[in-house]
């Protein structure tokens, strides 16, 4: 029985790593793409405002959008073509305040998430990997922290950090005064790493005895390499999902802090806008609250949808296809 060589090249799909496969499947879905674009827009707005602010302070650009303090009309003008979002108690355009508010809220939420990841992930990973004494201490710390009501914790931290100047440990480093939102996102960050830490610890414990870790250990990997090079990438999808969902939580927390008077004081933020507006709601000036709430709704929806789709894309079970 003669063997006929096969001539036509057969397409062999090239190996797809976890990430490229996930990203491909993620971006295939319409909803995920839209929400990614919305998130991108918010980030761009924030960067644009930072740039404009830097520009106007350095080169005197008079970009109207960032000049939130300018009186554009009489007080409490309802939304009109001239002022799409109407004006506030000082006659300033609510549209500009909402844009500027994005800068504050996105920065606060982003930096707070960053802090909580910077603490939560390594601590969780170490606790999960080393077990024993280290694990006991970490579990004690985060159980203690989570047994204190969140409102008290964040209030206390915000009060403690208010107008404190922090000098970094190494000599010569600048001491900078914690102005305005600095104390807010620091307070939020320091009180919210607990959830992520517990999650990462659980995952690390699960992955710790997996073959690929034993293998890495067998050819002499150092502990740090194992954790950061092998273990974390496999649990990192949890971090991203957690990041997108916690982001919304931070924006909400900023609203509560403003209600309690600890948020941003002179520059507009969504929290301050909602807090200002709540008093005038019964007088029928609804647009300031509507603008801020709409801004929060859109970014929250985008983050939620993106988070969900991300979870589906990164879910190991689905990858068997």
């Amino acid at each position: 029985m003669s063997e006929t060589a096969v001539t036509t090249p057969v397409s062999v799909s090239k190996g797809r790593s976890l990430w490229s496969d996930a990203v491909k499947r993620l971006l295939a879905g319409r909803a995920a793409v839209i929400s990614a674009i919305v998130i991108l827009i918010y980030v761009l707005v924030t960067l644009f405002i930072y740039a404009a602010e830097f520009g106007s302070s350095r080169f005197g650009w008079g970009i109207p959008l960032t000049n939130y303090n300018e009186k554009v009309g009489s007080e409490y003008e309802p939304p009109s073509w001239k002022h799409p979002f109407g004006t506030d108690y000082k006659g300033r355009s609510v549209l500009r305040k909402t844009f500027y508010g994005a800068r504050t809220s996105i920065t606060v939420a982003f930096l707070a998430s960053l802090i909580s990841i910077a603490i939560g992930v390594p601590v969780g990973a170490m606790a999960g990997y080393f077990r024993g004494f280290v694990d006991e201490i970490v579990v004690w710390l985060y159980t203690t922290l989570s047994s204190i009501p969140y409102i008290l914790l964040i209030l206390a931290f915000a009060l403690v950090l208010k107008d404190r100047s922090i000098s970094l440990p190494w000599p010569g480093a600048p001491t900078f005064r914690l102005a305005g939102i600095a104390s807010v996102y620091l307070a939020m960050g320091l009180t919210s790493w607990v959830g992520l830490c517990r999650l990462i610890r659980g995952e690390t414990i699960k992955h710790r005895d997996r073959e690929y870790i034993l293998a890495a250990r067998s050819y002499g990997c150092g502990r740090a390499r194992i954790i950061f090079k092998h273990l974390l990438p496999n649990v990192f999808h949890l971090v991203i999902i957690n990041f997108s969902l916690q982001f919304v939580g931070f924006i909400q927390a900023e609203v509560i802090l403003s209600f309690l008077g600890l948020g941003e004081k002179d520059k507009p933020s969504w929290g301050a806008m909602i807090d200002d507006a709540r008093l005038t709601l019964t007088r029928g000036f609804w647009w300031e609250m509507a603008a801020a709430t709409l801004a929060i709704f859109v970014i929250s929806l985008a983050l939620n949808v993106f988070g969900d789709r991300l979870r589906d894309a990164l879910d190991p079970k689905l990858r068997t296809e």
Binding site: T143, I148, L159, V160
Partner: protein, 313 residues
């Protein structure tokens, strides 16, 4: 089992110690001279000295047996929280009095939210991919991002003041259910957003498992598969999420109590921080921590009841 419980109870001691340590550190750093506050308008120095003496503030901060640090722990363990600086009322009475109304508000809210959120989540997860699923997700995220305060203002203005279905505010001759009804309703509706979203993800993860397919292959109706097989398996993440919020129920709800005149403990904490009433804050956090640790244990025991694979070593 009892060995496990005893070991866990012993384990609570370091936790409670940690909580007391943190509250002590936080508030001695936050500052604001308290004696001046109590003394009031134009307090003479010796009056302030007397106040410091009465509240033990003149003792050394940490070192030595009779220091504030040691007192802080002694008082906590013996549940003698002393008097509130603000209005001289013994704190134990204040907490006992406030716990009732707070719980009458938060417990129905807690139960209502769980029942509604879980059933909604089950149904929506089952109808995954249909328009109902997408609409519900939209509603959830909407509810999530709307500030809680606007729910209250809108609810009070329309349901109570304009339509009059509910009393606007607490009133002496109203029975508890009458004046608690509207705040509980608002609390549930406002909380549904995050509740349904979380439970939906849990249900979806659970529905991917093979035993669901076997259940259907046996000829079971979807209702039975959902509410018997899937729900019991989903209890584990549900327990984690819900049982740990129970200890904080006694804290009441900050805004609802303030806007509907329910004399609970909700605003007590914020007022105490505002007026540097450390005694009240320590008491509330200490009780909160005790409850939290106990419920942590209850959570683990619930796990063992629900999931046979988990054994309490």
């Amino acid at each position: 089992m009892t060995v496990y419980i005893v070991r866990r109870l012993l384990y609570t001691i370091p936790i409670v110690f940690g909580v007391l340590l943190i509250t002590f550190l936080l508030f001695n750093v936050v500052g604001g001279d308290v004696a001046g506050l109590i003394a009031g308008k134009n307090a003479s120095p010796e009056l302030q000295a007397e106040i410091r003496h009465e509240y033990g503030l003149d003792k050394p901060l940490i070192w030595g047996w009779d220091s504030q640090f040691v007192d802080h722990f002694k008082n906590a363990i013996t549940f003698n929280f002393g008097k509130s600086w603000h209005d001289r009322e013994p704190i134990i009475d204040k907490i006992k009095r406030g716990a009732g109304p707070s719980l009458s508000l938060t417990v129905p809210m807690f139960i209502g939210e769980i029942l509604i959120a879980i059933s909604l989540a089950l149904i929506v997860a089952y109808l995954r991919g249909t328009w109902i699923d997408t609409v519900t997700v939209l509603l959830c995220v909407g509810g999530l991002s709307l500030p809680f305060l606007s729910f209250i203002l809108a609810g009070q203005y329309f349901l109570a003041y304009k339509l009059g279905w509910f009393p606007v505010f607490f009133w002496p001759n109203l029975s508890t259910p009458q004046y608690v009804a509207l705040p509980v309703l608002i609390g549930i509706v406002a909380g549904l957003g995050s509740g349904v979203r979380f439970y939906r993800t849990v249900m979806l993860d659970e529905m991917r498992n093979d035993y669901v397919r076997t259940a259907f292959a046996k000829g079971l109706a979807a209702r039975k598969v959902l509410f018997k097989h899937v729900l019991k398996n989903a209890m584990i993440p549900i327990i984690t999420q819900t049982v740990l919020t129970i200890p904080f129920l006694f804290l009441g709800s900050l805004l609802l109590e303030r806007f509907f005149g329910i004399p609970g403990l909700g605003y007590l904490m914020v007022e105490a921080i505002g007026s540097r009433d450390f005694q009240v804050i320590n008491a509330m956090t200490y009780i909160g921590a005790l409850l939290f640790v106990v419920f942590n244990l209850i959570t683990d025991i619930c796990y063992a009841l629900v999931d046979p694979r988990i054994s309490l070593e």
